[in-house]
Symmetry: C2
Subunit: 296 residues, 2 copies
């Protein structure tokens, strides 16, 4: 292992990821564990970090995500919009540890009330790697965020629980009996069309998946893809002010981002995509550079 | 125990209810157990029935609900709309048992695809106890049904998974952290207003419950009631063709029916209410009378 200058950490509810970074900004090694915030008591954070990257400590650590929530290791209070994605000056030093650990805050919006933790660092990464970017960023996931960026600042944002709804409905509701593991592009697009044009249709359209499974032997792949389409279509209807007439940058897992891109392309909205982990690392690197100065 | 002429049985996914009936149509005794269809293998139905009402057998049994599904005791194939609620002539005799058990079928609709099992018997009960009823019946529950009745027939119907969505979101999603057990009428009505007037708002409005809990200390009672209101408002938006300018008969649990009645009253829609178990028993009694003739 080369000389570790610092450790970039993405610490969410269900995962802990760390990158051992060299002085010139290169990744020496990437590691991850399942020790997400949701699995830890307050006293469990330092041991979890030691278990993952103990051999590289006491290199300074810069972290983002739910680790900075009230239930996390140390609370990093939200920064309010409009604001640049929080950076070095807003990072909170974790007390009561001999380690040098800083946590980047999340971002809040008062009206309508909304919050993010972790996505703000991906946004910082996107802005750092796309200087001068102005427009809309969508971060598809469990809680998909739509973010309006102007002059390097987060102006406003909204969250849709589309990913969590899909997980609950496809694996825990009566619809689970109608689902298979595969996918069907046409069924996905049909679902998007239905709720994007008539968002009120969602309530009745969901149970139709079950009924068509019973009566028409609707294939499980088509049912799963249409469920995703119905939910994403309803989300796009809610978020129309964000994407209408815009270019959209999608930051997320590839398969999910591709689904959003297809749905938006059908509305004439061009999309760029970027990987969520790449952007997290770019955002952490930008903040680290603010703290410790340019590499070398 | 008096002389049991027959046994009325409501056998759903999660419950088994039986009424021991006298020859003149009176309830001698009501019993119930947790031996719902969802807990039973095919060979488990007869023992479950014996365990609950063995002392009254071999009196004839007339049952409705999921017991007649493909995964039930014996399949009673759906009757297709438009149709009167299935009665004596469509009841299926359970084979391979020395007992005399008949099961009433559910009802299906081809376009849009939809199904019901159990509710058709409540509808039969409502028609039997309200002769000449023409209009709309709403059966709030896990899967709420909206049913158009004309000249004693089910003309069309639609299902909304509102109850199941509420259960999943309030107890299994991130919103569970923001929920208390109580209720807040004003918050409920505010939720209904929001999604009934702008159904596309649902996707973003859900996560606001969490964000307002974090940022504004939204009380858990208000969060729970507004979640219910948002979902019921979205359902009412989908079902507008059913209730607009109509009277609505609500058949369901009292608290839930009251919530629907309040939401509909705000739209100028008058409601009547009837108890779900009362209507099930009335429907089973009407069908029994068709089979065995009038009492006495």
């Amino acid at each position: 292992m080369g000389d570790v200058a610092w450790i970039a950490v993405d610490w969410g509810t269900s995962h802990l990821r760390a990158w051992l970074m060299s002085r010139d900004g290169a990744v020496i090694e990437a590691r991850s564990s399942a020790a997400g915030m949701g699995t830890l008591e307050r006293g469990g954070f330092e041991p979890a970090l030691q278990a993952l990257v103990g051999d590289a400590l006491p290199a300074p650590v810069l972290a983002c995500g739910m680790v900075g929530s009230r239930q996390g290791w140390a609370e990093a209070p939200y920064t309010a919009v409009p604001c640049a994605p929080p950076g070095a000056s807003e990072a909170v030093q974790v007390p009561d540890t001999a380690l040098n650990v800083r946590i980047l805050p999340g971002v809040k919006q008062t009206k309508p009330a909304d919050v993010m933790r972790g996505e703000e660092t991906q946004i910082a990464g996107y802005i750092a790697t796309h200087p001068g970017f102005d427009g809309v960023i969508c971060l598809p996931g469990t809680h998909t965020k739509w973010v309006h960026i102007s002059a390097g600042e987060i102006v406003s944002f909204r969250t849709a629980m589309t990913g969590e709804m899909f997980a609950l409905l496809s694996s825990q509701s009566v619809l689970r009996h109608s689902m298979a593991d595969g996918w069907d592009d046409a069924a996905f697009m049909a679902g998007v069309d239905q709720t994007l044009s008539r968002p009120e249709a969602l309530a009745a359209a969901l149970f139709s998946l079950r009924a068509e499974g019973l009566l028409d032997a609707l294939p499980g792949d088509a049912a799963r893809a249409r469920l995703s389409g119905l939910l994403i279509g309803a989300e796009l209807a809610a978020m129309r002010p964000y994407w209408l007439g815009q270019q959209v940058a999608l930051i997320g897992a590839e398969t999910l981002s591709d689904a959003y891109a297809a749905a938006l392309a059908a509305q004439g909205v061009p999309c760029h995509t970027a990987g969520a982990q790449d952007m997290t690392l770019a955002g952490l690197t930008a903040a680290y550079t603010q703290i410790y100065g340019e590499a070398a």
